[in-house]
């Protein structure tokens, strides 16, 4: 809850931050050259070019396959995982919390590369499998593999949203179902999961969005057999004409926006009809975990298989690569063990700086971002008017622009807006880009926390004469303290792994691990990339463990 004036200021700032870079992209798409060049003129040739390019259509088709396929895999698995973790008495649940989060904070480029090292044609796991069974039934470079891996690695996103929704359900309905003889699976399918369908719808659209945006995985796994998706097609356009063709890249980004924006509208419409479910959920304090009985082995097996495929396999690949000088057919791993790559990381000042900066941007930057999201959240909290609906629409939009393009747009904003220029070569610009790109993600965390505050408490504050700001400060915010801490932790993880957005904002002193990995990758230092990624994973894992230890909850 905010007063009218601050509320307008917040919304205006938000709209500017989102629409200015976005408008720049759309404007660039209808020009014949870079927008800052005098020679550029209004023209639709960029669209003519991409629509005429068969690669564009095959990339569009593949993108749709990936987005639909990974949603079909991630949403049910994520929902089931959330159900098992939140509503049942599965042994070792607390212990599983950290590994489940790994795919969220490991950069997909690194995950993809990990899969190549372990499941690729000469990957250590493939070689081992082949020596036993004679042949390898999978092809890591096929489109199907990309879909499956993308699906499996997006399970945690779905898990997060649905688990926080599931936590708010009373367990009485589930117990009733269980007592009348339903299996735990049936309870999940027919009772618990339908009741959190608004959250699932939201995350479903988000995952579908992410499907349009994934870049790292198809870049690594799609290259050898030439499977393009829209983001890798956009990347390819950078060099196809020799000089970077902004107008073509912007045209592709505009097409992606044109496809995804109607999805936002659709999602709003779906959510509206789903509100009826929400009103039923109520707030029951009493929650008893569902006894799984013999089913717990099934549940454990499913989770273990998922953990094995989406975490152990790629992470083992990366870890292995970071300690060997060579690998593959005919290499005895014991002969090539080395710690040189770690030395290389710690001897290089820029690497150390990138590690320090990544920690800064994750912790302080993460906290600042949560603060920003909170202001936006408060601006729309309990105010179901036109302005709030407007905000609802704009928070999802930045997610529609591929990170690489969004980073470039933010770079331009900082370059050409005079009063922002001095901030460009500081970490602020990187932070700003990250905060905008992950707006949809962060807002959902804040909104779900705000939702849980009973309106009667705030109304009581208002009745005794407190201003809106006072109510926010003294009632709402203190009540969602835990939710904010959890959001901070998640944003920390997301910021640690972000890579494509920061590429253009790198300057001496503002290096971050993610962008550093991309730049090292290009010049061939794959070994150092592996070492740096492993360090990053350990760092985030440590941060996560520390936070959980001190009682921060990922969801409350």
């Amino acid at each position: 809850m905010l007063q009218t004036l601050p509320r307008r200021v917040v919304v205006t700032l938000l709209a500017l931050s989102v629409f200015f870079p976005l408008g720049l992209v759309i404007y660039q798409s209808v020009l014949s050259g870079p927008f800052f060049m005098k020679t550029a003129s209004l023209s639709l040739e960029s669209f003519a070019f991409i629509f005429d390019d068969p690669d564009f259509w095959s990339a569009t088709k593949n993108t749709l396959i990936v987005a639909v396929g990974m949603s079909l895999i991630a949403i049910p698995l994520g929902a089931i995982l959330a159900f098992i973790m939140v509503r049942t008495d599965l042994p070792g649940r607390r212990w599983l919390e950290i590994p489940i989060m790994i795919p969220i904070f490991v950069s997909p480029v690194v995950l993809g590369f990990g899969y190549v090292v372990s499941l690729g044609p000469v990957g250590f796991f493939s070689v081992w499998f082949e020596s036993i069974f004679g042949s390898v039934p999978w092809n890591i470079y096929s489109l199907a593999s990309i879909v499956v891996i993308a699906g499996l690695t997006h399970v945690p996103h779905v898990y997060l949203y649905s688990s926080s929704a599931l936590r708010n359900l009373g367990s009485d309905v589930e117990e009733a179902a269980r007592l009348s003889g339903a299996s735990p699976f049936r309870v999940a399918r027919d009772v618990s999961i339908p009741m959190v369908s608004p959250a699932l719808l939201y995350v479903g659209v988000l995952v579908f969005f992410l499907g349009f945006e994934i870049f790292g995985l198809p870049l690594i796994l799609g290259d050898p057999e030439g499977h393009l998706v829209l983001t890798t097609y956009l990347y390819k356009l950078t060099n196809k004409l020799g000089t970077p063709s902004y107008h073509l890249m912007a045209a592709v980004a505009t097409c992606i926006i044109a496809v995804t924006f109607p999805l936002v509208l659709l999602q709003r419409a779906l959510l509206k009809s789903a509100q009826r479910f929400v009103s039923m959920k109520g707030k029951s304090a009493r929650q008893r975990p569902l006894a799984l009985g013999g089913w717990k082995w099934v549940a454990l097996a499913v989770i273990s298989l998922w953990l094995f495929l989406s975490i152990f396999v790629p992470v083992a690949g990366v870890a292995l690569r970071s300690v060997v000088s060579s690998w593959g057919t005919g290499v005895n791993i014991l002969d090539v063990l080395t710690l040189d790559h770690f030395h290389a990381v710690f001897e290089e000042a820029t690497m150390i700086r990138s590690i320090v900066n990544s920690i800064l941007i994750g912790t302080f930057g993460g906290a600042l971002a949560v603060g920003g999201y909170l202001l936006v959240g408060l601006a729309t909290h309990r105010k179901p008017d036109g302005l709030s609906r407007f905000v609802d629409y704009i928070v999802l939009t930045p997610r529609a622009v591929p990170g690489l393009m969004a980073g470039l747009a933010v770079f331009w904003v900082f370059l050409f807006v005079p009063f922002l220029a001095p901030l460009r070569s500081t970490l602020f610009s990187v932070w700003f880009a990250y905060t905008i790109v992950w707006l949809a993600y962060g807002m959902r965390l804040i909104q779900s926390a705000l939702m849980q505050v009973g309106p009667e408490l705030e109304e009581a504050g208002r009745l005794v004469g407190a201003s809106r700001a006072r109510v926010s400060r003294d009632i709402t915010v203190p009540l969602i303290r835990n939710g904010l801490l959890g959001a901070w932790l998640l944003i920390f993880m997301i910021f640690e792994r972000e890579y494509s957005t920061g590429v253009y904002l790198l300057s001496p002193g503002t290096e971050v691990i993610g962008a550093q990995i991309v730049s090292l990758w290009a010049s061939g230092a794959v070994d150092v990339v592996a070492a740096l990624s492993l360090i990053n994973m350990l760092l985030v894992g440590f941060g996560l463990a520390l936070a959980l230890r001190f009682g921060v909850k990922l969801h409350d």
């Binding site: 196809k240 004409l241 970077p244 290499v331 820029t350 770079f411 001496p508 061939g524």
Partner: protein
């Protein structure tokens, strides 16, 4: 003024003694004293380069020992990012003082579009003609392009010694090398495109056969050297075509499975092109840096510490243009810095070339 004159006379004396003794001291035979003074007054220099920090640092450290008053800000980025940032920032006012990139065509385009300023000195005079364009774009290295192979898995008899050998190997053993040969994707990598378009120019008739051979083994194309090298080392691919031998050499020092061949019929040579930005904030420091990179000392560092190859003809050693000439003689084909590189930045010509490539290579 006083200091300048004193420096000048000191240099003069030293130079005199040196020439009497018949030696040329590397540190003293350098930039004019007033340039040094002006550069030190600027006290700063910003460089955008594609050379890894680790390699560039060898040069930067030595430069800083010679001129401690000049702070260097070195930003490492990819060739595309460098171009993007440079033109965007120039449009907004000013960008880096010096750019240093292996995308020779993009560098020439920038110079051609008027983004550079000229510089002439005793050091730039040492460059071969092809590596100095209008006294604005300067080649700083001499990096041969080779064939890289997996030593564990490719039998010695198979290792091609020339382009003709390579084509023959692929066309006589297509089954063995099917899906096992890798090269740059000319659509994704600007450097890769430049190299293969040079092949077309240099190899003439053989070029069609090369494309056909690629088609017969379903060549795997990649966007970056790193991914290619990694796949060759692991054995997923066996032979890589048109890889920068300087990078391969760095990797081969750590990894015994990497072998490099410089083809005996012709070996393309690329050079990292450096130019000073027209609206450089620190033009004197930029000139001093350029002179330093081209100086004997700078070139020795490039050859011996940075794992690149020195271009200056009076530097000796294996990783120098001299060393390569001893080994390959007339077979060396440096890519000439000049307007010739602009041919394929023309959209129609470039797309035509890519079409030719795709038709031949992706043919079933």
């Amino acid at each position: 003024m006083k200091t300048t004159r004193r420096n000048f006379s000191r240099c003069l004396t030293a130079g005199l003694i040196a020439s009497v003794l018949g030696i040329s001291p590397p540190l003293l035979a350098q930039s004019a004293p007033d340039l040094i003074a002006a550069a030190q007054k600027e006290g700063k220099l910003s460089i955008y380069g594609v050379t890894d920090n680790e390699q560039a640092n060898h040069l930067i450290r030595e430069f800083r020992t010679q001129y401690p008053a000049i702070q260097i800000e070195y930003s490492n980025m990819s060739t595309t990012e460098l171009y993007n940032r440079f033109i965007s920032e120039s449009a907004a006012g000013s960008s880096a003082d010096v750019t240093w990139s292996s995308a020779m065509d993009l560098q020439v385009k920038l110079v051609n579009d008027g983004y550079a300023q000229p510089h002439k000195s005793a050091e730039t005079a040492k460059l071969p003609d092809w590596a100095n364009w209008k006294n604005e774009a300067f080649g700083t290295t001499y990096e041969p392009i080779g064939i890289v192979y997996n030593k564990r898995l490719v039998p010695a008899a198979d290792v091609p010694q020339s382009h003709a050998d390579f084509i023959k190997l692929l066309s006589t053993q297509p089954e063995k090398y099917k899906g096992k040969v890798t090269t740059y994707d000319p659509e994704k990598s600007g450097v890769g495109f430049m190299l293969v378009s040079q092949d077309k120019q240099v190899n003439g008739a053989g070029f069609g056969d090369l494309l056909k051979a690629f088609g017969s083994v379903q060549v795997r194309v990649q966007g970056s050297t790193g991914t290619m090298m990694e796949r060759i080392a692991s054995g997923e691919n066996l032979i890589g075509y048109n890889l920068n031998a300087a990078y391969a050499l760095t990797r081969a020092q750590k990894d015994p499975s990497i072998g490099i061949v410089l083809p005996k019929d012709y070996t393309l040579v690329i050079s990292r092109v450096m130019f000073i930005a027209k609206n450089a904030k620190n033009p004197n420091a930029a000139k001093l840096w350029l002179d330093f990179v081209l100086s004997k000392k700078g070139q020795e560092i490039i050859a011996n510490k940075a794992d690149l190859y020195a271009i200056r003809p009076d530097v000796e050693g294996e990783t120098t243009s001299n060393g390569l000439k001893k080994q390959l003689g007339d077979a060396l084909r440096p890519v000439v810095i000049g307007t010739g590189l602009l041919t394929y930045l023309d959209q129609a010509k470039r797309l035509e070339f890519i079409k030719q490539w795709n038709n031949a290579v992706k043919a079933k």
